[in-house]
């Protein structure tokens, strides 16, 4: 094939009215189209194929006549094809679809993706094409999806769903692990509502969440934008920022416990070196500072991870948008506020949800650094549940508190996702 140009939309195109040469691979008929629709031809297929052949090769000219037009030029042959002349009500695609439906009915199509691939777009992807098998058949296409999901579903069911159901059952009892649990109805839940310490832990967890959002929301975005802009050392900076995240929580919390130590900590040493009047501060022993100190540690630990997610999202932002903005005279701030940040909004939503879920359930950092002290100033729901379950061995009450926490987080997450869905629409 040399200069095949089937259609031209330009009026000044000199070749527009010239006869269109037929590509070599089409000259011998549709057999060379490589439409591997099926492996097993059926009588219906054969009939369809013949019909197409007849249309290509032996269609009557508009003026009448019959029989194959052997002397005609290839272009003339093409001109006589009814569906190219607008005479047929059926497009090629419709024609193919009807063929596929016939295959489905006769159970010949094995892989609808293979069929779809010849047409550049999926064919009715939302409709079940059962490959000759019923919807419920274990080897049908939809069933195959289920089999692939099954390991994950089993894992989820065994390690998440089952313990949650068990936890709910336990929350309705005075639990005894050896099967002598006494059912108490909603007593443990009532107890939680009357427990002032439980409410204090809720307030502390909420304060922790808000503080960590206030302090930890923007730094990763800013760092991601800066990292996206720099030319050299991207890998090094990514590694350095991510390092705190890869340190396990317990050693990281221990490290910061010593940094914050009132007498031997490096932070107070620096403060006192700057000015003796500045310290020492009881970072973890003063109820006014303890919670915020843990939040600082948490922000330090997670900023790099969130930054990496924002950075990855920025890689999908087309450069052309910035170039177009520059051509329109946009400065750096305008580009950030009108291109970069709007692009990051969906990621911000997701990460803010993750941040709320993580901080509301925080346990390790608090337990290692203060164990909930001083005087419950850092007592969060996680530490209180742990102490109730394994200190007082009151598993029924601990499970009730865990269920309440789950309910709050579930409602929050659902509300956020619905909001996100509405916004994206």
């Amino acid at each position: 094939m040399t200069d095949y140009k089937p259609f031209s939309i330009y009026d000044d195109d000199e070749d527009k009215n010239k006869p269109v040469p037929i590509p070599d691979e089409l000259k011998e008929g549709p057999a060379n189209l490589n439409l591997e629709i099926e492996d097993v031809p059926s009588p219906e297929d054969e009939a369809t194929r013949r019909e197409l052949m007849r249309q290509f090769e032996g269609a009557p000219a508009p003026g009448g006549g019959s029989g194959p037009a052997k002397e005609k030029s290839p272009s003339a042959s093409m001109e006589n094809v009814p569906f190219l002349q607008g005479q047929s009500t059926e497009s090629v695609e419709d024609r193919a679809k009807s063929m596929i439906r016939k295959r489905q009915d006769s159970g010949k199509i094995r892989d609808r993706r293979k069929v779809a691939s010849i047409f550049d777009k999926p064919i009715e992807p939302d409709k079940s094409i059962a490959a000759g098998k019923a919807f419920w058949h274990p080897l049908s296409y939809r069933a195959q999806t289920f089999w692939f999901l099954l390991p994950a579903l089993l894992f989820f069911g065994l390690f998440y769903l089952y313990p949650m159901v068990q936890g709910f059952q336990i929350s309705l009892t005075h639990y005894s692990p050896l099967g002598m649990s006494e059912p108490v109805g909603w007593e443990n839940y009532q107890r939680a509502f009357q427990d002032s310490l439980f409410w204090q832990t809720v307030v502390n967890a909420a304060a922790f969440t808000l503080l960590s959002l206030a302090l930890g929301f923007w730094p990763p975005i800013l760092l991601a934008i800066l990292l996206n802009e720099i030319t050299y050392g991207k890998g090094l900076f990514k590694f350095l920022y991510l390092l705190p995240f890869v340190i396990p929580a317990v050693p990281a919390a221990n490290l910061w416990k010593w940094i914050f130590d009132e007498g031997f900590g490096v932070l107070n040493s620096i403060l006192q070196w700057v000015s003796p009047s500045l310290g020492p501060v009881g970072w973890l022993t003063d109820p006014r500072w303890a919670l915020i100190s843990i939040v600082l540690m948490f922000v330090w630990k997670n900023t790099g991870w969130f930054m990496l997610i924002y950075f990855a999202s920025l890689q999908n932002l087309p450069e052309e948008q910035y170039e177009a903005a520059e051509m329109d005279g946009a400065g750096v701030l305008k580009k950030v506020f009108h291109i970069t940040l709007p692009h990051l909004v969906p990621v911000m939503w997701i990460l803010s949800i993750i941040q709320v879920l993580t901080t509301f359930q925080i346990f390790t950092e608090v337990y290692v650094m203060t164990k909930g002290g001083p005087m419950h100033a850092t007592e969060v729901i996680g530490t209180y549940i742990y102490k109730t379950a394994f200190g007082s061995m009151d598993l029924g009450y601990a499970s009730a508190m865990a269920m309440l926490m789950f309910a709050v987080l579930f409602i929050f997450t659902m509300a956020r996702f619905l909001q996100l869905k509405r916004t994206s629409r």
């Binding site: 005894s176 050896l178 031997f264 005087m375 007082s392 061995m393």
Partner: protein
């Protein structure tokens, strides 16, 4: 020839396989007749001498009891682990737990009563009575004291010498403790006289030394006693150590492990601890045993007092009768005077650090000359209040009033203790049955 060779080879293979299977079957049969006893508290391989000693003990036991096979597990009692394995039906047949945990575990139904075994046990009358009584819940014995600890004063002899103090005369009274700690405190060097964790576990000893009690049982009902004048005096002394003498470590909420770390670094000159900390100081921190000393806790206005505790052997209530019987055999063997003496000799031979608490209180090991320094403390030792609800009251005191006294210079000890005594009486003691 080739065929004969192949046939011979096949015959040899068949013979070897049959021998292997026969031996395996014999071993299986033998194993089936054995009682497999799962035992926790096996020393980790990182402590090779302790491990060697334990393996020798197992060997000796199995040779004397051929029907029992010991299956040791490198795991110590931790509430969260223990409750999980018990709930999953995988609990050990025999384990050592803290004496303070007996009440909670017995109430959960985990522990087998050992009333009948203890009646006929030859060592019963030699065990320290307060210790044996502390294993009783609702009139039944649920454990056998395996070893003991008592609280003592741990001090750095090298820091005493550097400060011009006699390292062989540690403080013997509260006043001496405060004065010695003041001399040893050098804030500019980051060195503090005394390390103290604000926990009931330590506070109760000071209350006893002041002549008070933590709880009282009246007409079969338990009530708080830690608001009485003696307890208030003890808390005032703690407050003075922090705010008047300023001799305590700067971070008042440090854990015992962190204090031990500072003690090992020479940042703290004295602290309170149990003798089971000593091997850790020597093996982990490589401290010369001659550079630190142990002494009885200083006497308060009412004299000396220190609390005694220890690990207690408990038998799993869900184990089979054969395993329960085998578990009792192990307890009898391990705590027998012969085995305790053998252990003492081997510890000497292996050059291990020896402390009296490593041995059963039923033995006379504590009378050895090397324990002279702590013998007095053993004589005045007491146990934690053994009443229902005490674990919760202990947690209540730990969380608020004791931390408060170290954090708030203006806190009033009397008011604090009174407030929490009322709360303990109303919310905890009023809801439990009373004395076990």
């Amino acid at each position: 020839m080739k065929k004969i060779f192949i046939l011979l080879l096949l015959a040899l293979l068949v013979f070897g396989l049959s021998q292997f299977l026969m031996r395996r079957n014999q071993k299986d049969l033998q194993d089936k007749t054995l009682v497999h006893l799962t035992l926790w508290n096996v020393p980790p391989k990182s402590l090779p001498l302790d491990r060697q000693l334990w393996e020798e003990t197992v060997q000796q036991f199995e040779s004397e009891n051929p029907g029992v096979k010991i299956e040791g597990v490198e795991r110590d009692y931790q509430p969260e682990e223990f409750i999980t394995v018990m709930a999953g039906g995988k609990g050990p047949d025999l384990v050592k737990v803290w004496v303070g945990a007996i009440q909670t575990l017995a109430n959960l139904g985990f522990l087998q009563s050992v009333d009948s075994q203890i009646q006929n046990w030859s060592q019963k009358d030699f065990i320290k009575p307060v210790l044996l009584e502390s294993t009783k819940v609702d009139g039944h014995f649920y454990g056998i004291p395996a070893d003991t600890y008592f609280l003592f004063l741990l001090y750095r002899k090298d820091l005493f010498t550097a400060a011009g103090l006699n390292p062989e005369t540690p403080p013997a009274t509260w006043d001496q403790l405060a004065e010695t700690a003041r001399i040893l405190t050098h804030r500019e060097k980051g060195q503090y006289g005394l390390g103290l964790v604000p926990k009931t576990w330590y506070f109760q000893d000071f209350v006893w030394q002041a002549g008070g009690e933590m709880t009282r049982v009246e007409n079969g009902k338990v009530r708080s006693a830690f608001f009485e004048p003696a307890a208030v005096q003890a808390l005032r002394f703690w407050k003075d150590l922090k705010w008047k003498y300023k001799v305590l470590q700067p971070d008042p909420l440090m854990t015992e492990a962190e204090l031990l770390h500072l003690f090992a670094l020479g940042k703290i000159a004295m602290t309170l601890g149990t003798e089971n900390l000593l091997p850790s100081l020597i093996t982990r921190y490589k401290i010369d045993p001659q550079s630190f000393g142990i002494a009885p806790l200083p006497a308060g206005p009412a004299g000396r007092a220190a609390h005694l505790g220890g690990d207690v052997y408990v038998i799993n209530a869900t184990s089979s009768d054969e395993k329960k019987a085998a578990a009792w055999k192990w307890i009898e063997f391990e705590l027998s005077p012969a085995n305790q003496l053998r252990k003492w000799v081997r510890m000497h031979q292996l050059k291990m650090f020896i402390f009296p608490g490593a041995f059963s209180s039923a033995t006379e090991i504590a009378n050895q000359p090397e324990f002279k320094m702590v013998k007095d403390a053993l004589e005045t030792a007491r146990v934690e209040p053994h009443v229902n609800g005490w674990p919760q009251v202990r947690d209540l005191l730990d969380e608020d009033p004791l931390q408060n006294i170290f954090l708030d210079q203006d806190a009033d000890p009397q008011q604090l203790l009174l407030t929490y005594a009322k709360e303990a009486d109303r919310n905890i003691f009023a809801k439990v049955k009373g004395a076990p």
